[in-house]
Symmetry: C2
Subunit: 189 residues, 2 copies
């Protein structure tokens, strides 16, 4: 997606530890007009799939998933990262290891919102080691729902998450794949 | 907003501790078509204001703010609740006390995204004690931006946040105000 590459080159910055910071439009400030372009692109990429629900993970997936959901006319469910007071006791849970934060956290989705007749599209901002994606897939499986695909805004191609998911035969579409962030230089595939 | 009252009566449930659970459309599953109706209503209520940015707080404000922003053609900025690796060092910060969680947490917004020429609309899902709203106002003031108003989906009228903000002359609009959740019964104002 050329528009996204342009946006990343213009507004993104590379931080220590292979972090690509896109706070101006994706992770802190949200460029809603631009997110609509992302939503349209996801719709184009998954137009052959019958989607009933979009699943994402709090926090940074919520805005992208919500804007994208408008093009599919479906609700969004976001997995919660910690046990909160207001969450149903009846939840599907999975453990996710964060390489960035070097700790394992639990993600939870109420059983009410993942049903066997659901055809689910996972949407998230970044794909690196695919730990979050695997946790969400685990939850979809626990709910006996169908995973129709995974839409990622920015895939870090130099980490093994994309390879791992594609080898499993998962219908993964990343809007851009970054091959390297070495020396602060962003190299797209 | 009658549509919202109907939705709350049909899908909401009252939990211990005066908690109104609206997980089916607002706080876990997101009914995006319905959030668009909420967005249109906020636009109608603040149509006389020149808004340049919508400010909200992670997590539960993000979807509402993002959908609403489409009707104002402005970006969203969401305040972050914890110090994360990827956040700018240059941030405005404020302390927020959560009555629900009985602890104080820090909220942060990068200085890049709150500017003196910004006219800001705060959007959030719930208003109870207004601690989060006061934290966001504090951040707007630190950035010398202008607060144009606060749009709340559900105000708990039996807690003092609404009164406190209105007494300060703040342009607060709540789509519904709940006067009581006693005995599990939802009473609207």
């Amino acid at each position: 997606m050329d528009l996204l590459k342009k946006k990343i080159l213009e507004e993104g910055s590379v931080e220590e530890g292979d972090i690509l910071k896109v706070d101006s439009f994706l992770n802190h400030q949200l460029d809603i007009a631009f997110l609509n372009e992302i939503g349209k692109e996801f719709k184009r990429l998954f137009s052959d799939k019958k989607i009933t629900k979009i699943l994402t993970l709090e926090t940074s997936g919520i805005a992208i998933a919500s804007i994208t959901a408008q093009y599919f006319n479906v609700p969004v469910v976001f997995a919660k990262k910690i046990a909160t007071k207001n969450l149903d006791k009846e939840t599907y849970e999975s453990d996710v290891y964060s390489y960035t934060k070097r700790r394992t956290y639990k993600i939870k989705v109420s059983k009410k919102y993942i049903k066997p007749d659901d055809h689910i599209l996972i949407i998230d901002d970044f794909l690196a080691n695919a730990q979050a994606a695997l946790g969400l897939i685990d939850i979809i499986n626990q709910g006996s729902a169908t995973l129709e695909g995974i839409g990622i805004v920015i895939e870090k191609g130099f980490q093994d998450g994309g390879k791992l998911l594609r080898e499993r035969g998962i219908n993964l579409k990343s809007l851009v794949i970054i091959d390297s962030l070495e020396d602060g230089k962003i190299t797209f595939r």
